[in-house]
């Protein structure tokens, strides 16, 4: 038994005003109340801290199978838990791509038996992620896939995307689209605008994201199927999603910690440090502002990391030669909290916490919908946040193999200090 005393409880929807105690027994939350006594319980004093449902990140590049020198399921799982997440979704752009039931099964089985966060599999939309033929989406659903995505690339043609949307409509597993019109982005390196003009590097225009989002919205309207847009980075695309939601279409989206906190100036001010090279690229200051407005008004459904770890031998190159990606699993919660604090708390904390918990949980298949909430009887996946904790991002202490992190050495405020998965304390720093 574990008794967490005196925390401010966030149950997935609302922050409770008065401090509450939470009693955990056998993987479950068994009791919530103002003053619980339990003699044999391990007591944790959480006063002044916020107790939340375990955080969920639906977009992580685990790199296994195939690229284990960059990250593997075990290191990623430990990194996720250290970063405050109890559940993460593994992107399928591995080697081989996760495009069949046996591969989904491999990730699913391994993913629930790791020593950190549980890792749930996403499968490819198309066979071999090549955009030509639909993968066995039904068999992958049965094997435990929680999203279908060709992430790293958009679904190659509108016809295949439409077919896959129809096909998945009754499967209960969403398609996650990486929105990018690739004929406009080929060779692109940085945001088209300030960064491309100053550097001469090929720009990635906001319109490339917008065009693919509009395509997805149109096909969602045609098929009646839900579609989820991941790592949305531009004001243009956000506005299209906002309008689609107003129309009542089953359209959802997520935004990354880096697009909420960094902009294209970081590429220039850092003098082309490749750690700022990411796809979609860091955008304009106006785009960052638009993303925060979308967080505030409910257009955004989830925060993600898009954690993309690289071995530094691969990443530490001149900007133009380096691969895309930022590793952030172990600091992304703090990045968002710190940015939110610095912006003067422009959104209620409740909303921020929803986007880490109940809101992404609602995008998962029904079997996982219990995640992201704290109720008596619910699974004891919990994240404890200390909004006053100020700590340096120290890559030496990371569980992740990735070191390509723009916040290295920075002091951020607002950290996860304890993570509990299925009733077990996996990490405690209080």
């Amino acid at each position: 038994m574990i008794l967490i005393k005196g925390s401010t409880l966030f149950d997935g929807e609302k922050l409770q005003e008065a401090p509450l105690d939470v009693l955990i027994e056998d993987k479950k939350v068994v009791k919530i109340g103002p003053s619980i006594e339990a003699e044999s319980a391990e007591i944790i004093d959480a006063s002044g801290k916020v107790l939340c449902p375990g955080f969920i990140d639906i977009h992580v590049h685990v790199r296994e199978p195939g690229y284990e020198w960059r990250e593997d399921l075990e290191s990623c799982s430990r990194a996720a838990l250290a970063g405050g997440y109890t559940t993460v979704v593994a992107m399928p752009n591995t080697d081989p791509p996760v495009d069949s039931a046996p591969l989904v099964d491999f990730v699913a089985r391994k993913g629930v038996a790791l020593s950190g966060a549980r890792v749930l599999p996403a499968g490819c939309v198309t066979r071999d992620r090549k955009g030509q033929f639909m993968a066995e989406l039904g068999k992958m659903t049965d094997a435990g896939a929680v999203f279908f995505t060709d992430d790293g690339s958009p679904v190659a043609t509108s016809q295949i995307l439409k077919t896959a949307l129809y096909y998945t409509r009754d499967l209960g597993v969403r398609i996650m689209e990486h929105p990018e019109e690739t004929s406009l982005t080929s060779g692109g390196q940085v945001n088209e605008g300030l960064a491309s003009s100053v550097s001469g590097l090929k720009g990635v225009p906001a319109s490339a994201e917008y065009i693919d989002v509009v395509r997805g919205i149109a096909l969602s309207r045609d098929t009646g199927s839900p579609i989820h847009f991941t790592h949305v980075s531009t004001a243009l695309a956000i506005e299209a999603i906002r309008a689609a939601k107003r129309e009542g279409l089953p359209v959802t989206c997520d935004v990354t910690a880096h697009h909420l906190s960094l902009d294209e100036n970081h590429v220039l001010v850092s003098k082309f440090d490749s750690v700022y090279k990411v796809n979609p690229p860091l955008r304009s200051k106006g785009d960052v502002k638009a993303l925060w407005s979308a967080v505030a008004d409910g257009t955004v459904d989830a925060f993600i990391t898009d954690h993309a770890p690289w071995h530094m031998d691969e990443k530490d190159l001149p900007f133009q030669e380096a691969p895309f990606g930022i590793a952030s699993l172990e600091c992304s919660v703090a990045v968002i909290m710190d940015t939110w604090l610095k912006l003067g708390s422009p959104v209620p904390l409740e909303r921020i916490l929803q986007l880490f918990t109940s809101s992404p949980a609602s995008l998962l298949p029904d079997s996982w919908k219990g995640l992201g909430r704290i109720r008596e009887g619910s699974m004891a996946d919990l994240t404890l946040i200390d909004m006053e904790e100020a700590k340096m991002v120290d890559l030496e202490l990371w569980e992740s193999k990735g070191r390509n992190c723009p916040w290295r050495g920075e002091i951020l405020t607002g950290w996860p200090v304890m993570s509990i998965r299925e009733g077990m304390i996996f990490r405690k720093e209080i």
């Binding site: 491309s196 100053v198 550097s199 490749s274």
Partner: protein
């Protein structure tokens, strides 16, 4: 004035005062070049590596001449036949050069950010950017500035028209910085498909009509149009480019009478420049080349411990 720069990556952090001092120093170097015995012992015992990953004749030769005039020991390291072609990374090659005792590395490299990267990786050797992709080519800008300044003196209030492929031009980017700092107003012209989207961020204006862009110009700077821009579909044909934007006597005629016609070389005749202009009396293209050696001598001298006051 103490010379605070040890490297030259680009001209962003050079002040106007520093540029003026630099130009005087380059003039002094040019005088040396006119003496019967050109060599001076200023950098005797310094090892400079010319590290060129892209084909370059004039920049490499110009640096090498400058180094030799100052009595430095010079090593030329090119990518073909070197460790780079065996898969060694830029970082490892750079560390190797430093271990061999290089005091300075002059580098041309195809990737944007390569020179900044090299500065971060080297522990003590100076770095001189001889071109990093589309981003910067500061010694070209310095020699252009020197050529114009010698002809015109103070450039405050002067106007410069840059016509051509600004989008892919490291020369244009560095030149806009250098000339703007000296009080020159820079106007860009050329087809939209060869222009950066945000020209205000570069500190320049855009005029789609080359005739009005060139009007009142004290300097007309032409950029090389690479054949591959046509292959990429950014311009329909080189001939169409020449007809609309190429510098012929008519276009030059819309500028000031004593306009200086400049080009970084190598020139494409009948593309961005007609022979009548290239070889005409307003062209200072070959004078730019001569400035190149003096300017690079001044740079190496100042940054590698020549004068400190």
């Amino acid at each position: 004035m103490n010379w605070r720069h040890r490297n030259l990556i680009d001209l962003d952090d050079w002040t106007r005062e520093e540029l003026n001092l630099f130009l005087e120093q380059a003039n002094y170097m040019e005088e040396l070049l006119n003496r019967p015995i050109k060599k001076v012992p200023a950098l005797r015992g310094k090892l400079i590596v010319n590290f060129f990953f892209e084909p370059s004749t004039r920049t490499r030769v110009s640096f090498e001449l400058a180094e030799k005039m100052l009595s430095a020991d010079v090593v030329n390291w090119s990518s073909s036949g070197s460790s780079v072609s065996k898969g060694e990374t830029l970082r490892d090659t750079a560390w190797t050069l430093e271990a061999m005792g290089a005091d300075a590395v002059v580098m041309r490299y195809g990737a944007v950010g390569a020179a900044d990267y090299l500065v971060r990786k080297l522990k003590k050797a100076s770095v001189f950017n001889a071109g990093d992709g589309t981003h910067g080519h500061p010694t070209q800008a310095l020699l252009d500035l020197h050529s114009a300044w010698k002809k015109r003196g103070d450039l405050e209030g002067a106007r410069m028209a840059i016509v051509g492929d600004v989008l892919h031009s490291r020369v244009a980017r560095s030149n806009i910085k250098a000339f703007s700092k000296m009080g020159v107003k820079v106007v860009l012209s050329g087809p939209r498909t060869l222009m950066p989207v945000d020209m205000v961020a570069l500190g320049a204006e855009y005029d789609p009509d080359p005739r009005s862009a060139v009007g009142d110009a004290d300097m007309l700077y032409l950029l090389r149009i690479q054949k591959e821009r046509q292959e990429q579909g950014l311009i329909p044909s080189l001939d169409e480019y020449h007809k609309r934007y190429g510098a012929d006597n008519e276009l030059v005629g819309s500028a000031k009478k004593d306009v200086l016609v400049m080009h970084p070389g190598p020139i494409n005749r009948r593309v961005e420049i007609a022979s009548e202009v290239a070889d005409g009396e307003k062209s200072i293209i070959l004078k730019q080349v001569r400035s190149g050696v003096a300017v690079r001598m001044a740079l190496l001298y100042l940054c590698l411990g020549g004068v400190r006051n």
